[in-house]
Symmetry: C2
Subunit: 154 residues, 2 copies
Amino acid sequence: MKISQGVEWGLHCATLLALAPPDRVVRRDRLAAHYGLPEAYLAKHLQAMARAGVLHAVPGPRGGYRLGREAARITVLDVVEAVEGSTPPFLCQEIRQRGTGALPPDQCRRPCAIHATMTAADQAWRASLRTVTIADLVARLPAGVRERNEKIVS
Amino acid sequence: MKISQGVEWGLHCATLLALAPPDRVVRRDRLAAHYGLPEAYLAKHLQAMARAGVLHAVPGPRGGYRLGREAARITVLDVVEAVEGSTPPFLCQEIRQRGTGALPPDQCRRPCAIHATMTAADQAWRASLRTVTIADLVARLPAGVRERNEKIVS
Ligand code: FES
Ligand code: FES
């Protein structure tokens, strides 16, 4: 089980974009340079975030990205799902219906207890990520970093 | 993000082994046949579960597996960590210390707020999986399945 690097990149970029003045667009090469990321690969994640509405993409030579809505209305989960997709990580292959021990379909109308337990844990994970917004992340930046980064993106 | 198929296999096998009389060893080919699983690939996961103490492996021609301890003392998390390992799925690459925006090391003594948020969600996921034991899964088997499977493994 592994979460893509794009999650770290996307969340840091969103936190940086949250410091830009409203309507200020930050160029993609600038975001990549700020965190030392490969621009082409970062592009993929920024596009996914734009598709999900977390970012707003402005095309053209003076284009770039800004947040798609207020930082207080973007949760960490929104970014994680934009980058990773929202497919649950546990994929039940209905092994209870296979092999010599196969159960008949009428005993399998609902997910088995194992499947239900994995789903509940996934929901706990998502619920936890939903409690933190990009605005919360900005509020927890170390002393001085906020001011410095505000200057960088203004 | 994806959880290995071995988790579904390992949890179902543990639930089946929980129905065997104490000290009864179930052969690996029988476990594989019961759920229609490829035996060589299942072997890998059963061995990992034995290494973690979740199962007890009995070698030799009449060998096989039984639970490593009472079903009520094996959590779903124990099986998941035996199969998947316990490495957190989010790997922070400290991008805050890279690129043109790099923070000095003395501002990076603690995980950043993004890293801490991902860690908290991982802990919520593990805590959820820790609330359910193999004994709980057995108690939630559909009517009749427990009795049928008890016969199969006795
Ligand atoms: S049949 Fe898939 S988890 Fe039980
Ligand atoms: S530096 Fe890795 S998550 Fe912030």
